[in-house]
């Protein structure tokens, strides 16, 4: 019974025992402390940081909108594509964002099924991130087509032309996979939110907020009739999302794996892409959660243990990705397929875009190796640095796979080198603004941590936990909490 090993006061318990487990919530916080702390973020004025981030991201979103308008009104030519590089930044960004969008569901689903209780303090934000990332991802395949106004041809609608979609096309699989993934993640996320929305509802005065929270809380009463079905449903969704999350990036990788292009036509792609997605996804989760926990003083909920765990996952997946990189080379050499071999030589050694390959390899394979060393996993600056590397590295990975491979296609006579235009760059930059904007709005209006679930992992929430009267240390009065949470906690880091 792990809860027993936690003493009220670590100092008093003398030398910590080897087997002692770090608690998931530090300082034995009480239910109401958690409620207040998390709801406080939504209920109180936002710190300056929030505004410093929000305003630029809105501007960037505008930039993105402008770029897409220009693209649609003028033609895909405003991007840098050419023969034979018909896909470049557009699909690179798509795969990049989709990859990011994997961590959320992974944390909520797979870690849930494997009973990883530490997920509770990060899953909400991670799921939100997933949804926003998938939204960003969806923009690119939608707008990269030449005639976006005809994109409804992709929908299987009965029509007088008697012509239907080609369900043998990996691109159409993509359409189904991504839209399914988005819907399911949304459902999952929303269901998770319902009890917390009830909490917010019950805390706020009658008014518009109460109306909205109330509506979306659906009249939740925390009754057992709710909880028992709710838990089953949550378990089911987790069980559904787990294969889903694996399938989505596999399907994305099919776009390449099922083609005839040397460098794309590889059976290793599905696992390689999934590992890469988890890799990049976790990096992005950390990139977001570390500042959030500092700014909003959630250090007790997002503990070094959480960060440590995620760092380990990054290390693992990063190494898998590195293995995949080298295996590609070996297979190319071993296959006796000269085109394949040449493709990889051109990618990594002699081609025009080897620089991208080196970035990819350095950022994705070498940087995470720092995490072998525990102190690095616990130094937030190092963690942030590695995560940044990985975020960049994963983009380069997709760029290498897509653009630099096409630059050196099968017929040398048509070889050409790709250069991106300003529209390419600003569009991508704009999606970052869009992503940040959505995430900041989420911070502003919804509980960033799953209140109910965190309470569920507190020792005292165990019905067989007999030590009565201990409701945790009652914190100082929380009413004056907002105006002082930023600097001190940030400094604490």
């Amino acid at each position: 019974m792990e809860a027993k090993t936690i003493s009220a006061n670590p100092q008093a318990s003398g030398t910590p025992r080897i087997l002692e487990r770090e608690p998931l919530v530090l300082h034995q916080r009480s239910y109401s402390w958690i409620t207040n702390r998390i709801c406080g973020i939504v209920e109180n004025k936002q710190p300056l940081y929030w505004w410093f981030l929000f305003v630029p991201s809105v501007l960037l979103t505008g930039l993105m909108a402008f770029c897409f308008t220009y693209l649609i009104s003028t033609g895909v030519g405003v991007w840098g594509q050419k023969q034979p590089v018909a896909w470049a930044w557009d699909i690179t960004n798509f795969v990049f964002w989709i990859g990011i969008g994997h961590a959320g569901t992974l944390i909520s689903a797979i870690l849930f099924l494997t009973r990883q209780k530490w997920r509770t303090s990060v899953n909400r934000a991670a799921e939100a991130m997933t949804i926003f990332a998938v939204m960003c991802a969806g923009l690119f395949p939608a707008f990269h087509v030449g005639r976006v106004w005809m994109v409804w041809f992709l929908a299987p609608i009965p029509n007088a032309n008697a012509i239907w979609q080609n369900f043998k096309s990996p691109l159409l699989w993509d359409v189904f996979a991504v839209s399914t993934y988005f819907s399911v993640s949304l459902v999952f996320w929303y269901l998770g939110l319902v009890p917390d929305l009830a909490t917010l509802r019950d805390r706020c005065k009658p008014g518009l907020r109460k109306l909205l929270y109330g509506m979306f809380a659906l009249g939740w009463r925390g009754a057992n009739r709710h909880w028992s079905h709710y838990e089953t449903a949550y378990m089911l969704l987790a069980a559904l999302s787990t294969p889903l999350v694996l399938s989505v990036h596999s399907v994305v990788s099919f776009d390449f794996a099922t083609s005839v292009v040397p460098g794309w036509h590889t059976t290793i792609f599905p696992p390689y892409f999934v590992a890469g997605a988890i890799f990049g996804g976790f990096a992005m989760v950390l990139t977001l959660m570390i500042p959030v926990s500092k700014i909003y003083g959630l250090g007790d909920l997002i503990t070094p243990k959480h960060i440590d765990n995620m760092a380990k996952i990054i290390l693992l997946t990063g190494t898998i990705v590195g293995y995949a990189y080298s295996m590609e080379f070996f297979v190319a050499y071993y296959s006796a397929n000269a085109f394949e071999l040449q493709t990889f030589q051109l990618r990594g050694l002699y081609g025009p875009s080897t620089w991208a390959y080196y970035f990819m390899f350095g950022f994705n394979v070498f940087a995470p190796q720092l995490f072998w060393y525990r102190p690095f996993r616990h130094n937030l600056w190092v963690v942030m640095f590695v995560c940044m590397c990985v975020n960049a590295g994963m983009w380069f990975e997709r760029y290498v796979i897509i653009a630099t491979t096409l630059e050196r296609h099968l017929t040398p006579g048509s070889w050409r080198t790709y250069e991106a235009t300003w529209v390419d760059k600003y569009t991508f930059l704009g999606t970052f603004g869009f992503f940040m904007m959505l995430f900041l709005l989420f911070l502003r209006f919804l509980p960033v941590i799953a209140i109910g679930e965190v309470k569920g992992v507190l020792p005292q929430s165990n019905p067989h936990h007999e030590d009565h009267g201990n409701e945790g240390i009652q914190e100082e009065d929380l009413m004056n909490y907002p105006d002082r949470h930023v600097p001190r906690d940030a400094a604490a880091a």
């Binding site: 023969q83 030449g146 080609n166 040449q342 050694l349 002699y350 296609h409």
Partner: protein, 1069 residues
Amino acid sequence: MKRQWIHPQQPETGKRYWRSTAELESRAEFLDRLGVEFPAGDSLTTEEAENSRRHFLKLMGASAGLMGLAACRRPLAHILPYTQHVEWVIPGKPLLYASVMPSPQGAVPLVVTTHEGRPTHLAGNPLHPLGGGLSSFAQASILDLYDPERSQQPLAAGKPVSWAQAQETLTALMDAAKKNQGGSVGILIDEQPSPTQGRLLAELNRSLPSSRLFTYQAIGSGGQRRGESAAFGIGNRGFLRLSKAKRILSLDCDFLGLDPVAGEPIKAFTAQRAQDKPQADMNRLYCLENRYTLTGGMADHRKPLPSSLIPAAAALVAEQLGISAGSALAAEAPASLKEWLAPAVRDLIDHKGNAVVLLGSRHSAQAHALVCAINHALGALGNCLEVLAADPAPVAGSAADLQQALGSGQIQTLICLGSANPLHDAPAALASALSQPSVKLVHLGLLPNATARSAALHLPAAHYLEAWDDVRAADGTYSVVQPMIQPLYSGISANELLLALIGRKKLGAPADAAQDPAYQAVRDTFATVAGSLDEVRWNHTLRDGFLKDSAWKTGSTSLQANWTDALKGAPALKAPTNKAMEVVLVPDSGAYDGRYINNAWLQETPDPITKQAWDNAAWVGSVTFRALGLKNGQMIKVTTGDRSLTLPALEAPGHVQNSITIPLGYGQQQLGFVGSDSDGKGRGFNGYALRADAEQYVIAGAKVEVLSESYALAITQDQATMEGRAMIREGTLETFNRQPDFAVKTGMDSHIPQNISFYKGQVGRKSAENPDGFDYEKKHQWGMAIDLSKCLGCTACVVACQSENNIPVVGKDQVIKGRLMQWIRMDRYFATHQWGEQKAKSDDVNIDPTAEQLENAEMVNQPVACQQCESAPCETVCPVNATVHTDDGLNAMAYNRCIGTRYCANNCPYTARRFNWFDYNKRPLDELYWGPLSTPEKTGVRESLQLQKNPNVTVRMRGVIEKCTYCVQRLEGAKIKQKQSQRDSKNFRVPTDSVKTACQEACPAEAIAFGDLADEHSNINKVKASPRNYELLKYIGTRPRTSYLARLRNPNKEMPGAEAIAAWSAHQI
């Protein structure tokens, strides 16, 4: 449920047809509608009606918009039938006419496709004795007709004037001239005026007895004419029987490319290059030239030699044949040349009678006289080199005489009838003489070029498809040029100008076609040529496109006794050094001598050698290029004497050291977007500026200065080597005899793993064991084979395809960005048997050839379009079924279904798919990036260009993929034609080989075979049966319907370096 359809009154816009449609979405492109529903014949606009050559039949149309833009559920559309029926015209069916195109080398026989009076496409005339494919120039010439930047009204000193005023000026001029018998009048003509023109000139001469004739062509062949007449006698000229020539030594003579010799069409040469049975005999081509030409690419033995030393080479050959007369010239010849020539000449001698030496037409008269003697000694005369007694060209002064006459003030008025644009291309001295204020220029031309703008009177010329004329072919066969359409801009032909000068025609007066004086003049000439004005023969001549048995008779095959006199005054030769380089001026594959500068198709079609589009540049051999430390596009300053030119340099493999080649015709100004870029500052650089006199094409003692600035070149192919991949496969005749199927065994094709699939798809021929296969019994099965032994790489197919399939021009900027639209890509590779310092056998991705290796590399060409794979990777990836397979084996492309994911383009191993990155048809090419904000008046397809579009092919809009479809419109047309005759019988199969693709039709080398694989008699089956037949990238398993026939070379064992020839192919991967 029935509804009342009340249409709002149609807006009475005075808009013209095209405009109203241009406002519609480009998918609703007007001309498709023509093809689709009610072709133009049924709904002629007034414009078209005027343009129709059958104007005098009183056919009338209306110009009311086809589509009111009225906002009702269904746009109102009108049908406007003829009021009077038009002879021959069946709305919706094309009419074909035989005609010819005048060219510096004589008549080019043509078949013109017209749709309701609009010429839309050109093809060779197979009936004509010299008929065959077309050069890219002839193929593209139809675009000049519709060129929106064409000269459209008379100019007086650059100011527009009416035709009436122009007429007055002319009359005044003539009256003035008559006073002194025309003593002050000079007439400038081309070297070969048309028969009618010759007649009219003579007539004019009667009214102005003391007027003088001068010939000047920007790129002339005076030397050749003088040399030949000196050797063969006045007027006599050689006519090459390629079919008989077994051994050819070309001395800087690009007879397969830009320097055609009078002779049989190229197909007679290439026919001997393709061998399908071992132990077959094959002709052999030796080539000496300073730069790579198409001829050099075809040669079995080629040696880079400075043009300055070409006469020396001739002299060496002569010596070996015991002709001592020219040995003075041989002095400068390097030793290596001697040992290279020795075995070659021995080979020629062994084939006496069937061996011939050819010399570039721009070399000196002396050299030509010498070569005539050589051919005489080789017994070529009368065998593979006929001597024809041509009717002598009118006696005319040279450019030098003209300059003198102008300088001395003797000539006050010069009437330019020819193709020349002297103020741009003439040597400085002549040009300045011309631009004296005292000199009055009357200029006739298609373009408002430099001469036109400064002439006292410029008259817009009629395109050859707009006017009556006649031409003789290289062998003298007489043809009539018949107009297909009324002059779009009421231009006049040279004949009409002469008639106006004589007073038999009045400019600006509406011509009644029946009594059109030009028409009468041509008929009169016909009468003199044919002996009588026999209507039946006249009609046959019009129908067949030539007058039977009107070729010149053969002349004597003996040399003139005093031919050696012609050798006198041969200039001393000097081999170029890196201090004093030589500059060689050559015609350009896009602009020729500058006359095609405004032809967008030719400008966009990359040069077959350098792959450069939209510009010219200084070609510098790899050794010199790297010695000077140049980069492609870096500017250099070339100085010859007191003249200099600054232009970008371009590395040219196979180019000799210390020599610089500059293609001519560029650097013209104020000709509009195509000819001189949007700023009018001119495209490319004017090489003419470097020459001192009109016949100087090789300029010695040039200094080169390397500058720091650089210039953007539109090079369409970055990669010059195959990286060891077996794209093009080549073998020597010997290899072929030893192992006929060497091509199939090349590289990975020899060990392709079994394709294991758990279902049998639609591949191969349907049979008991292959039930899903293609049905050869009840369907056609289309296939194509391209014989690389025959293919010259001349890009005629590229232009033909562009003309047939409404392929848009994208402009230099887009070409630089790698967005060339042409469906056929002519890949050009350089190959050598040793690679890099390490002398590797094959070029892997990490090996670059050295400069020396590049200088002696082989050049090979390969046209690549959609291969119509039976198992097409592009199809399966399309999410919307926009590209699927047809049961006759085509890889179909439904433009209207395409949403433009471009996935197919990625998954095409041959990069054969093209994407419409912008609205190339709708938006101005220099404002593509402005999108909807582009200048309204420039938006939409230029009216005149719309007239050229093929109504049977959709004009693609922005955002869709397009590609070669084997000219599916022709295939479907043929099937339907067959249905019309099949009616209630079972016989659905189109007659054997009756349908041709545009590229196949155009190919002058007959390298492209196409037809129905299911028809066992069809030619395509014979060709594909050849052991040289191989599939491109077979390893990928796409099972293409297009295949290639490996290239053969026939090296002479005794030649130095013979063992290296085609050796590279054996080591491909």
